[in-house]
């Protein structure tokens, strides 16, 4: 690398004295809003001498003295000027009949006009990105890009970004993230401030991402930050506030309260019990220790509430009425408040451009004691150093402090209780009211008593939570804090030899330093009986966010050559370069073990057991050389190609190189038909092919290494044999990608349609295959399984109304995955598992497989070969497989006639987790000074498994557990009087004798859930249609009200997030925010937000 840099410097020095003789004009072309117009053509009037502006509108041209310049650009009226001085600012008027040219940005900041690219790409403008203020770039993109599924996460999880899944999955290990590239520098989705974004280009196919190499195998989200508008000095101030509330909760039953049986227990006061309990003698209480709601019917009868047992409460010794609390789970959550302040300053002129922005994003979370404060300083500077050199710097620094616990897994202390283990009779206001009042034992009182008040010896346990705390006490006491400092940016020096050749050297850095400190206070340990929480302190310093989001430092040198020949008919663009990127993820982590010696001292030295100390170091590197180019003929034909070779440190040294070529062609047929088909404003047909490299390995994966256990046993140290066997011939892989399509615009570009078909095949990629432990190993790192996927993507735009006072613009996307298939290349593996859900106490919920374990025939029977072996099957990616009710050939459930329990099929295939159709719709209306925007997104298909529902029915919390049966009785009523769940099917013994019976509700639902994990009722579709964003804005016509020159614009906007779930197939959750690939374990509820935004421009 050093050699490249030296050479680069040499080249630059040698060039300085080469030119200076003629009259050089530099300048910038922009539109009447101040935005640069890229790729405008600047011609010396009356000659064929011309140049093309770059993507930022800047150009350099040598002309004769006194010559005029003619400037033309698509979508704009041409203009001729007489340059005064060496630097000119040219403003072109936008013409209504043509659309402004869309510019695609790819690797190393290389820009191209979208109309010539031979691949599908989509550019999201600032406007569409900011329909409502979003703090997370991924959610801002939801539904706006064809071929992209947004796997959202609950806004309660302040540390979560969600995930953009592009064109289904090509990952054997699960989803592969797209790379986020900000001003040419690769980073992750963390800390990208949507306020600083000018536009986003989303690239998907191999030709589009050719120069990125390995990092873009999952696609690329390429971000251009906002730059100073030429010749302008501007200050902008933007303030938004939004309020979020819980909107979608599971449908609970509100008839029966907490406990394990339908009768109350009677309290008898005994000597040794607190005197404060005496008034309760003879009163009735539910079984507090059980955390299910199979208790008595709630009809207002007198009972002893949990808080009555704490003698320190004002309501100690009192009774209450046993009544439904339909909104208790909803009442728990705060109103989340998000405030976002953005101030920016920009100035540009005379070869110098600077922009500085500061954003403060403060969130008070919906969960108690949760917050996120993010401060971002963003600066971009570009400075011409003489005629040939330009120095640039882009730098974003972010400090983000996130507090709170965001566990949405099984048994978390909010949704993990409300939906799985809870008492439906609980009044949340009482929990809030008494959260700080300690018991005589100095503990927090819980609704879920560690023991019922049956004896004096039980008293200490009464004062401790059995499985659950008072949620408010818990969240208030717990202290989890992470502080992330993130710098991403680059410094570059460009040498522009002349208008045809330039070379740029860039140093890029993406560095995260993450410090976390987590405290479980001693009082929580003291207040719990079986909560499993020990007082603890844990801290860690991470250099990098994770192995998949490491710190990087990269060096690249890219040379570009642009020229046109033969009366500008043939234009040529060539790029060549080299890069070296070094990755690093270090962690130093410490945690106390088995509690603390002395309470309330949160220090590693206070650990009761030997503290855990982990020190992990990971470094790796990728080197590459590349070249690319495109040739355009007469605006009719364009050919582009690229070649890149990568060398990876993570691969075996003997085989660590991957060569990835790509090529594409575009044909602009509308040029030939513009007379015959005048309604066709633009028509392009394009096709491309390419290979994407993937090393597929994490650092040191090829090492067969032993970890030394930190703790010695006496004088002995311990180690264990690695669980991954390694194929000695492990190698990287290439993903072959084809795409092709049509890009059409009609009637003066008012309507646009882009249709793309893609097809990708992955060679046998390296994969750590989970294998039977009987082999001595749990995984085998080898090259296995080809993946093939294809699909179509459609993007349609329409300017339905283009009046002066009224415009209506629609942008719609649609994508359908036609297939996403795994072909096994080695029949010795029975199947490949991707991920599994919560797994504990022998409970086995469905897992996601890449391959279903066995092939089924049309009637659901497993197909066997001649030797009686089941045949493994080639299958769609991401099958959800788990235990289901066994059905006979007629589809009737098989029921054991003795126990009336369902016979089961342990490996039922519930279908893929991948939605087949995704899309969205963005609508923009402007009427005079009003702007209305809204976005809708939708998906069809895809399955998820709900562990919450499984336990929620097991525990008698959800509506079906207190439904009315077909005899008009509640299912909880005794079977003898007409209650019970109606069970209909056939005998599992002969698969035909009808079984028709009523089963006690608790027995029935316990039989479905628990260890049996019969998942038929807990697997649902991810299908939904959602109105995600709405904004109503008003541009205050400041010029009418004030003569003040200093203010240029005021916009006031009212916004709504998730105002309307138009349709969803599943009843209990927001299907767009399911937490895991396979489903959820303790999903947070869906939310809805309203807010406003004020923007001032000075």
């Amino acid at each position: 690398m050093r050699k490249f840099l030296m050479l680069f410097a040499l080249l630059m020095l040698s060039g300085v004295w080469l030119f200076a003789q003629t009259h050089t004009i530099n300048g910038t072309v922009r539109d009447n809003t101040g935005n640069p117009i890229p790729f405008a053509t600047i011609t010396e009037s009356g000659t064929k001498h011309a140049t093309t502006a770059d993507a930022n509108g800047a150009f350099l041209i040598k002309i004769h003295p006194d010559a005029k310049l003619t400037v033309t650009a698509a979508g704009h009226a041409p203009q001729t000027i007489t340059p005064e001085g060496d630097n000119v600012q040219i403003v072109l008027k936008t013409t209504a009949s043509e659309l402004a040219e869309v510019v695609v940005t790819s690797a190393y900041g290389i820009k191209r006009e979208q109309k010539v690219t031979p691949y599908s790409s989509q550019v999201i403008s600032d406007k569409d990105l900011h329909i409502i203020p979003e703090t997370n770039i991924n959610s801002a993109l939801a539904g706006k890009i064809a071929g992209v599924q947004f796997r959202g996460q609950s806004p309660m999880k302040l540390n979560s970004q969600g995930f953009l899944r592009i064109r289904g999955s090509l990952g054997l290990t699960g989803d592969i993230s797209a790379v986020y590239v900000i001003d040419g520098t690769p980073t992750t989705s963390f800390d990208i401030d949507p306020d600083d974004i000018q536009d986003i280009t989303v690239l998907k196919g191999a030709n589009a991402t050719a120069l990125f190499g390995d990092i873009a195998k999952g696609g690329a989200i390429v971000i251009n930050t906002k730059k100073a508008a030429p010749g302008k000095t501007e200050v902008q101030l933007d303030q938004s506030v939004s309020f979020d509330n819980v909107s979608i909760l599971p449908v609970y039953q509100n008839k029966y309260g907490g406990g394990s049986s339908s009768d109350f227990l009677q309290f008898t006061w005994q000597p040794g019990m607190p005197d404060a309990w005496q008034p309760l003698n003879g009163k009735y209480y539910p079984d507090y220790t059980d955390d299910a709601s199979w208790g008595p019917r709630m009809v207002g009868q007198e009972y002893v509430p949990w808080y009555a047992w704490n003698p320190n409460n004002p309501e100690s010794g009192t009774t209450a009425k046993w009544l439904p609390q339909p909104n208790n789970a909803r009442d728990f959550y705060n109103t989340g408040v998000t405030s976002n302040t953005n101030v920016s300053f920009s100035k540009s002129g005379q070869g110098s451009s600077i922009k500085i922005a500061y954003t403060n994003n403060s969130i008070r979370g919906l969960l108690p004691n949760s917050s996120s404060i993010r401060n971002t300083v963003f600066t971009t500077i570009s400075e011409n150093l003489g005629d040939h050199f330009t120095a640039g710097i882009n730098l974003t620094y972010t400090n983000n402090v996130i507090k709170g616990e965001f566990d949405d897994g099984y048994a978390n202390q909010s949704s993990g209780s409300f939906d799985s283990w809870f008492h439906r009779d609980l009044d949340m206001n009482k929990l809030r009211e008494y959260k700080d009042i300690l018991t005589p034992a100095g503990t927090f009182m819980s609704w879920n008593l560690g023991s019922n008040p049956t004896s004096a010896s039980a008293v200490p346990s009464v004062y401790r939570g059995n499985y659950w705390y008072n949620y408010y006490s818990y969240f208030d006491a717990l202290s989890l804090k992470q502080t992330r400092d993130h710098i991403v940016g680059n410094i570059s020096l460009t040498y522009k030899l002349n208008r045809t050749f330039h070379i740029t050297g860039t140093i890029r850095k993406d560095a995260i330093s993450n410090l976390y400190e987590n405290i479980v206070p001693s009082i929580l340990q003291a207040s719990g009986k079986q909560t499993g929480l020990l007082a603890s302190y844990a801290t860690g310093n991470l250099t990098g966010e994770s192995l998949t989001a490491p710190n990087t430092i990269g060096f690249d040198v890219v040379a570009g050559y642009t020229n046109s020949f033969i009366d500008n008919k043939l234009s040529l663009n060539l790029t060549a370069g080299a890069s070296d990127v070094r990755y690093k993820f270090y962690s130093n982590e410490e945690a106390t073990v088995n509690g603390l010696n002395t309470p309330n001292l949160y220090a590693i030295s206070n650990s009761a057991g030997p503290a855990t100390i982990t020190n992990n170091r990971n470094q790796w590197e990728t080197r590459a050389v590349f070249g690319a180019g495109d040739i355009e003929w007469n605006k009719i034909f364009d050919v582009s190609f690229a070649l890149r070779n990568d060398w990876y440190s993570v691969l075996l040294p003997t085989n660590n190189s991957l060569l990835s070529p790509s090529a594409g062609v575009s044909f602009f047929f509308s040029d030939l038909t513009k007379n015959s088909l005048s309604w066709l404003s633009f028509g392009k047909v394009f096709a491309s092919w390419g290979k994407k490299p993937t090393s597929g390995l994490s650092p040191y994966a090829t090492n067969f290494t032993y970890t030394i256990n930190q703790n010695k046993w006496g004088a002995n140290f311990l180690t264990t044999t690695p669980n991954t066997a390694i194929d000695p011939n492990i190698q990287g892989a290439l993903i072959t990608s084809y795409e092709g399509g049509l890009d059409l615009k009609f009637i003066n570009n008012r309507y646009g349609l882009n249709i793309t078909y893609y097809n990708e095949t992955s060679a046998s990629a390296p994969y750590s295959l989970a294998i039977s432990g009987y082999s001595g190993f749990t995984s085998y790192l080898t090259n296995i399984s080809k993946i093939a996927r294809d699909g179509i993507e459609i993007q349609a735009t329409a300017d339905i109304m283009r009046k002066r006072d009224f415009t209506w613009n629609v942008n719609a996307t649609f994508s359908k995955i036609l297939s996403d298939v795994i072909k096994q290349t080695d029949s010795s593996y029975d199947n490949v598992q991707i991920s599994s859900g919560a797994y504990f106490s022998g409970i086995v919920p469905p897992k996601v497989y890449q391959l279903a374990p066995v092939l089924y025939d049309g009637s659901g029977n497993k197909v066997t070969d001649a030797n009686g072996k089941y045949i493994p099957h080639q299958y769609t990616w991401g099958q959800l497989v788990g235990t289901a009710i066994k059905r006979n050939s007629a589809g009737l459930p098989e029921i054991d006639p003795n126990s009336l329990t369902y016979a089961t099929d342990q490996f039922h295939d519930f279908g893929t987790v991948l939605p087949s159709i995704n899309g969205g719709l963005v609508n923009t209306f402007t009427y005079k000074n009003f702007i209305v925007n809204f976005s809708i997104d939708y998906q069809v298909g895809g399955k998820f498994f709900s562990l919450s529902e499984m336990w929620g029915t097991y525990s008698g919390l959800l509506a079906p557990t207190a439904a009315t049966n077909d005899k008009g009785m509640n299912v909880r009523d005794p079977v003898s009087v007409g209650g019970g769940v109606h069970v209909v099917g056939v005998s599992s013994v002969d698969e035909k004798t009808p079984v028709d019976a009523y089963v006690d509700a608790q027995t029935y639902f316990h039989g479905l859930g628990g260890g049996n994990a019969i998942s038929d009722y807990f697997v649902h579709s991810l299908t939904y249609v959602k109105l995600r964003e709405v904004s109503l804005g008003y541009n205050i016509p400041v010029e009418k009200f004030t003569k003040a020159q200093w203010i240029h614009g005021i916009t006031v906007t009212a916004t709504a997030r998730n105002p309307w779930m138009i349709y969803r197939e599943t009843q209990n959750f927001d299907p767009s925010e399911i937490s895991g690939v396979y489903g959820e374990d303790g999903q947070y509820p869906g939310t809805r937000g309203f807010g406003f935004d004020v923007r001032l421009i000075f």
């Binding site: 050699k3 060039g15 080469l18 049986s261 227990l265 079984d287 199979w294 023991s451 004896s455 010896s457 039980a458 050749f501 079986q530 499993g532 020990l534 080299a578 088995n594 020190n615 590197e621 060398w647 440190s649 040294p653 040191y700 090492n703 067969f704 290494t705 032993y706 030394i708 256990n709 046993w713 006496g714 002995n716 311990l718 180690t719 264990t720 066997a725 194929d727 295959l769 989970a770 294998i771 039977s772 432990g773 009987y774 082999s775 001595g776 749990t778 010795s828 029975d830 598992q833 106490s841 086995v844 072996k869 089941y870 003795n898 126990s899 016979a903 599992s988 013994v989 039989g1007 260890g1011």
Partner: protein
């Protein structure tokens, strides 16, 4: 033209340097060498790891496979979620983890000591032969543990993942048993009394002790075969007894794992004090037997003699808890409790148990030893193990003393079962093999698929891992355990339990 030449020159220089560096560009030196871990195999550290986990795996695993065995044989009762003891839940344990964990570590020790290329390095940690022999004994121990739970398992094709064999076939238990006996016999003969093996947390490398351990395991294998292949059982039983190295026969021979504390805690202590779950209690089946004979071990196994009733439904179990607030007979109970300290040793195989196995064998005619003397020695050894002094009075009790009559086998097996406590699978082996002590399902137990009355499972079905990663092979084995129309039934019987 000067310009163009300079460019050409520059580009040529670039190409030249690029070519120069082409060989270097693919060379990352030692960048991909893991700085956090070692590539060296250290057999003593592997053996230390395997022996450190024996107590947790084979005696008490806090809710795992061995605990479920303990629930089936009614050592323990479930106090809250009772679906295992009421047979509502079909067991769903995995077994392959024993292979990829301890068994592979042992295999690795054997391989490292056997391969001529590495044997020299391995010898630093003790005699090659002695290391191999100890590893073979423990490997046999673990395979016995797995096959006794489930029946047919991968054996002859197992542990070959690094040769690419990832879906091993399921071998017949009978064949596995024969090979285990053979392995143990060979292991005993393999010891060469060379330099002491390092990393052995049980016997500190004592060859004579490991020989006794191996011979004791041979007895345990042989006694299991008594009803299906008495001839082989007799041969193997006598061969083990006649081995000059002897069997575990005094408390000082016991295979004890002494926990050092810190992060290595007695598994009972760990479960109740660190995990802080109270799902399991001492059962009333155990306390009823102990109380009926005024057995002093009642204060060792529990603290009050009031065991928790077995096989109640959840609401009945919770009701029992409410109505019996003085109930405190959890294993984790009072401070006088044998299993309550963080450093309390766990006994993997005891002289008491082996004596009583020998008594059972003698009673069954596998040997000509004196069952009465062995019975007395076994009970005394159990008392000695817990520091309870002389068992003479206890042994004189009318329901304890052997009479030479038909009830003797029941008494022997009951004491054997009590001596094996709390190792769930060993206890379950006794009740499955002999029917003694008689264990009946709890009051709220249910009949599962394929049985008409509530029945204690007699084996574990294959685990999800078997079906997931070894689908084709497990399907063949599952058919061998069909009951009614259900393959792989937990109510089917394994080979030696026919």
């Amino acid at each position: 033209m000067i310009t163009r030449n300079k460019i050409v020159l520059g580009l040529s220089a670039l190409s030249f340097l690029a070519l120069q560096s082409c060989n270097k560009i693919k060379d990352f030196k030692d960048l991909n060498t893991n700085p956090n871990q070692t590539t060296s195999t250290i057999p003593s550290a592997l053996l230390a790891n395997v022996t450190a986990n024996l107590g947790g795996n084979l005696v008490y695993d806090g809710g795992g496979l061995n605990t479920v065995c303990g629930l089936y044989t009614q050592y323990f009762a479930e106090t809250q979620y009772t679906e295992v003891s009421t047979f509502v839940t079909k067991p769903s344990n995995n077994f392959d983890g024993y292979y990829s964990g301890p068994i592979e570590d042992l295999q690795n020790i054997i391989k490292y000591n056997s391969d001529p290329a590495t044997a020299g390095d391995a010898a630093v940690y003790g005699s090659n032969n002695d290391q191999i022999a100890i590893a073979r004994i423990l490997r046999a121990q673990y395979v016995k543990f797995v096959t006794d739970a489930v029946g047919d398992v991968p054996y002859f094709d197992a542990l070959k993942g690094n040769a690419g064999l990832v879906t091993p076939a399921y071998d017949k238990q009978q064949d596995i048993y024969a090979d285990l006996v053979n392995e143990l016999t060979q292991a005993v003969a393999q010891f060469d009394d060379g330099p002491t093996v390092q990393g052995d947390l049980i016997y500190n490398g004592s060859v004579s002790a490991w020989k006794k351990y191996a011979n004791s395991l041979r007895l345990m294998l042989a006694i299991n075969m008594v009803s299906v292949d008495k001839a082989t059982a007799t041969t193997d039983f006598q061969a083990a007894l006649n081995d000059p190295a002897g069997v575990i026969s005094s408390v000082s021979d016991n295979a004890n794992l002494a926990y050092p504390g810190g992060v290595y805690l007695n598994p009972f202590y760990n479960y109740y004090n660190i995990t802080q779950r109270f799902d399991y209690a001492l059962s009333n089946t155990v306390t009823n037997i102990l109380n009926a004979t005024t057995d002093p071990r009642v204060n060792i196994y529990g603290s009050s003699g009031k065991g928790f009733p077995v096989g109640l439904s959840r609401d009945h179990a919770l009701a029992y808890q409410s109505a019996n607030s003085d109930w405190d007979d959890l294993i984790y109970g009072g401070n006088n409790n044998e299993f309550s300290q963080s450093t309390t040793p766990i006994t993997i195989i005891s002289a008491a148990y082996i004596d009583l196995i020998r008594a059972e064998g003698a009673e069954e005619g596998l040997s000509s030893e004196d069952p009465v003397a062995l019975y007395k020695a076994g009970v005394q050894a159990s008392f000695d193990q817990y520091g309870l002094g002389s068992a003479t009075t206890f042994l004189g009790g009318s329901s304890v003393a052997l009479t030479g009559g038909a009830g003797d086998l029941q008494k022997i097996c009951t004491q054997e079962w009590l001596a094996a406590f709390p190792a769930g699978e060993e206890g379950w082996n006794t009740t499955r093999r002999t029917g003694f002590p008689a264990i009946v399902p709890g009051p709220d137990a249910v009949a599962g698929a394929g049985v008409s009355v509530p029945t204690i499972p007699s084996r574990f079905p294959y685990g999800v891992d078997d079906y997931t990663y070894n689908t084709s092979n497990v399907a063949i084995a599952a058919k061998r355990y069909a009951i009614g129309g259900t393959d792989d039934s937990q109510y089917a019987k394994i080979w030696w339990n026919q």
